[in-house]
């Protein structure tokens, strides 16, 4: 490989990061389908809009303030305001890619992390309160944690390994999800009725697109088109495959059926678990991480559904627990031979301990802050829809729409003046209409 000028933008790296960033962006619509398929049809649009709205508002908040808080020079806890409003963030190289591109790449991580939380409170949170919450959360929880790990903060200095966001993204969002599910309380039909997914193919579509996008997420985190990117890529292929196989096997053992929702969940858990490890472990370790990570998440889901904690779409079990398992297994399987710091298997138990510290720190911070933010938002905008709206479904009261309509019995309200004219002049169409049609 040619030796690159450390201060130059490299074309190949730029090409790869542009594509990687586009792939990560696609993960949020993918999440909309993964989550949207799992809810009942009367809440399908609301659930999807929780992801799509993050695409709008979180990006703007990231450009204006979040990026600076996460990556501008600051202290061990938080970045400064130097990059607010993207001042000084231009096309000059940051590593071997334009600084602005780095900002955008990190921005797509912020979007999806915020959107992940929506799975915990699906089918019952007011949309306005949700929007306010995730934007505050991104600024007050995600940006700091991001700074700790990737922005030269205290966890980075400590030496905690997180290749692409096991703690920053998944443990962080998973903890916020638990708290949000507790603060909101369970859905009114939870535990009394079967709350079945309305469209499992959408769930599979979401899982497929998430996997595709996740290659950008993990291999893009190498920030260059180099051997590390290739390693991260291959591990992101192997670990979810192993997790998927393991999940189907567990499903088969415990229910005698290999469910499609289970398969989709297995893929996501495998992706989550390899995220912190992707550039630090070899391919056989990736297979092991994927397969091992399936186990705790599988049983957590089995148990969770018997409790009163209505983490509706299993964010905590899939992302929170999956991220924890992955972060800890990173400390176990990482090896200098593949580009990481040596971990437990290579004889360095300290790395495993550091991973545990990082996980606990993020859990504590995310848990406390998320709770405080939700309570604060609740003072301004009530968090929960009314029981009646929950019964009808949120799509009509929150968004004025239904996901699927036939149009029958839907009467157009014509502004009264126009009405008479139009009614009597349908013949404005080019062809004569059928009698009475």
């Amino acid at each position: 490989m040619e030796v690159a000028d450390p201060l130059a933008v490299e074309a190949a790296d730029t090409a790869w990061l542009i594509v990687a960033c586009a792939m990560v962006l696609l993960m949020t619509p993918a999440l909309a389908f993964f989550y949207g398929g799992l809810v009942r049809s009367k809440n399908a649009l609301n659930t999807m809009m929780m992801s799509f709205a993050a695409l709008g508002t979180v990006v703007v908040a990231w450009a204006i303030l979040g990026y600076s808080l996460a990556f501008a020079p600051g202290n061990a806890w938080l970045g400064g305001l130097e990059f607010a409003f993207l001042r000084g963030v231009g096309l000059e190289p940051q590593g071997s890619i334009p600084h602005l591109l780095f900002m955008a790449f990190q921005g797509t991580f912020a979007i999806i992390t915020a959107a992940l939380i929506s799975g915990a409170i699906a089918e019952r949170m007011r949309f306005g309160a949700y929007l306010l919450f995730i934007n505050l959360w991104m600024l007050a929880v995600y940006a700091p944690v991001c700074h700790w790990v990737w922005g030269d903060g205290w966890l980075a200095r400590l030496g905690a390994l997180d290749f692409a966001g096991g703690t920053v993204v998944h443990v962080n969002a998973g903890m916020a999800a638990i708290v949000a599910a507790m603060v909101l309380g369970p859905r009114r039909d939870y535990g009394r009725q079967a709350l079945l997914p309305h469209n499992v193919p959408f769930v599979l579509l979401g899982a497929g697109l998430l996997w595709f996008g996740w290659f950008g997420f993990n291999a893009g985190s190498a920030l260059a088109a180099d051997a590390t990117a290739a390693l991260a890529f291959v591990n992101t292929l192997l670990a979810p495959a192993a997790a998927l196989a393991a999940w189907m096997f567990l499903d088969r053992l415990s229910t005698r059926k290999m469910t499609a929702v289970g398969a989709a969940t297995g893929i996501v858990v495998g992706l989550v678990a390899i995220t912190p490890a992707a550039g630090f472990v070899g391919p056989m370790s990736a297979l092991a991480i994927g397969a091992l990570a399936a186990i705790p998440s599988y049983f957590a889901i089995m148990k969770r559904s018997k409790t009163r904690l209505d983490d509706s779409l299993e964010v905590a079990a899939a992302h929170g627990l999956g991220g924890m398992t992955g972060a800890v297994l990173t400390g176990i399987f990482a090896t200098a031979a593949w580009g990481g710091t040596d971990g437990l298997v290579a004889g360095n138990w300290k790395q495993a301990a550091m991973q545990v510290v990082a996980v606990l720190a993020v859990m504590a911070f995310s848990g406390v802050m998320s709770f405080a933010l939700l309570k604060a938002v609740n003072l301004v905008l009530p968090l929960r829809v009314s029981s009646r709206e929950e019964g009808t479904g949120l799509d009509v009261p929150m968004h004025g729409e239904e996901a699927y309509t036939h149009g029958e019995g839907a009467l157009l309200l014509i502004p009264s003046a126009a009405k008479t004219t139009q009614r009597s002049a349908p013949a404005a169409a080019h062809e004569p209409l059928e009698a009475g049609a």
């Binding site: 036939h406 029958e408 019995g409 839907a410 009467l411 009475g436 049609a437």
Partner: protein
Amino acid sequence: MKLITAIIRPEKLNDVLEALFTAEIHGLTISRAQGHGGETEAVETYRGTTVKMELVEKVRIDIGVSESFVEPTISVLTRAARTGEVGDGKIFVVPVERVVRIRTGEEDQAAVTPALLAGQGV
């Protein structure tokens, strides 16, 4: 008490609803149906097979009415649902022995009369 069941074209449903409401007939239930009658049949193809679609989309309307409303309801229905082409549908009138309003337990006439008009003995 009678139950009037009409099978109509889906594209006429909105016209029918408006006409019924105008005629002060407010309680009704619809469901999606498919009918076979004298309509010309559609043929579809799928990868080398040819398929005759025997059924055409219809809407079924069920209206429970007291005797005095039977005639007006039928006439509103026939008027609003008619296009004059084969396939306009049918109306069936079936005798009903009891009607119960679930919310209140009221029976018969009271059950099909809109609550607000009940006092007026319509």
